[in-house]
Symmetry: C2
Subunit: 184 residues, 2 copies
């Protein structure tokens, strides 16, 4: 499973591509940021983000995209900028028919460190360890994007386990048919 994580922003939009599968090691394929000039008009900035994300999707061909969802503790200006950058990422993914999921920062922290209230340093240390990196990529937005991608892969793992548990608990086919027959 190859996942593109997007830590959206107009000034810096973090991008990180992670390969992994449930129960197997994670590998970082690429990490970086798209930057747009703060003094450019919003249309030009969104165009730059669109081009950048299209380039990453072309180059890395991820199977899923995961975008950070902001919480209400941010101010409206931040939320607007972030929402606009995330809309472009989601639109680019949707045009290619890629599934898009959202995770909040707390969900990412919980997935990576076990605690939704973990500090930046702790999250960073775990991301570096999980991706077997000597140092975390900079700027922080690139690292955030990698953490998002890890969160997505690990949640898929948890979901898979849940599905397996359900399958194991399900009655055998013959019995299931009988049971379905009984309630008809």
């Amino acid at each position: 499973m190859r996942v593109l994580g997007v830590a959206p922003g107009l000034t810096r939009c973090g991008l990180g591509v992670v390969d992994g599968a449930p129960g197997r090691p994670l590998t970082v394929t690429s990490a970086g940021v798209l930057r747009t000039p703060a003094d450019a008009d919003i249309g030009h900035r969104l165009l730059l983000i669109e081009r950048g994300i299209e380039r990453w999707l072309d180059e890395y061909q991820p199977g899923a995209v995961v975008v950070e969802r902001l919480f209400s503790r941010y101010n409206v200006r931040t939320v607007m900028d972030t929402a606009q950058a995330s809309a472009v990422a989601i639109l680019c993914a949707a045009r290619r028919g890629l599934p898009v999921t959202w995770h909040t920062s707390s969900e990412v922290k919980a997935a990576v460190t076990g605690s939704g209230g973990a500090g930046k340093a702790q999250v960073g240390a775990m991301v570096a360890r999980l991706l077997r990196l000597d140092a975390l990529p900079k700027p922080a937005d690139a690292a955030d994007a990698l953490a998002l991608a890890i969160c997505h892969i690990w949640r898929a793992q948890a979901l898979n386990r849940l599905q397996q548990a359900h399958a194991a608990a399900r009655p055998a086919p013959a019995l299931a048919r009988l049971w379905k027959g009984a309630i008809r």
Copy 2:
């Protein structure tokens, strides 16, 4: 001057096209809303908005796009939805090299009624009068988009007057040359 006004939203995105020029009557060319299903995923909804706006841009070929800018009194969920829909509109305009401007609801009210605190009914009555309509188009988002377009045209008029006033106050060319020479 043909202007497309966009009252952005995910569930209903109001669109209105107004033709007009400084000091001349305004004409409504089209008004309506794009709707996306609330239970669809965000990627699909943004794609629908993109397609709808592209269709309007193709059909009406406006020379400028004006988008409503939200104020901080709204909650984060509303701001996010609106910001994402507006990002798609801005992106579509920017791809065609169209100028995009923003106006808040108060700026629109002030332009149309003379008061930034005017009520919906008063704004609606003025929009209908200015566009010489018997009744305002429904739903309200379509009327909001028309009001935005009017605001843009009228502000352009004010800007033009200002530029003319500046031009009239400017020294004649020969004098200007002399004056520039003097301070060199």
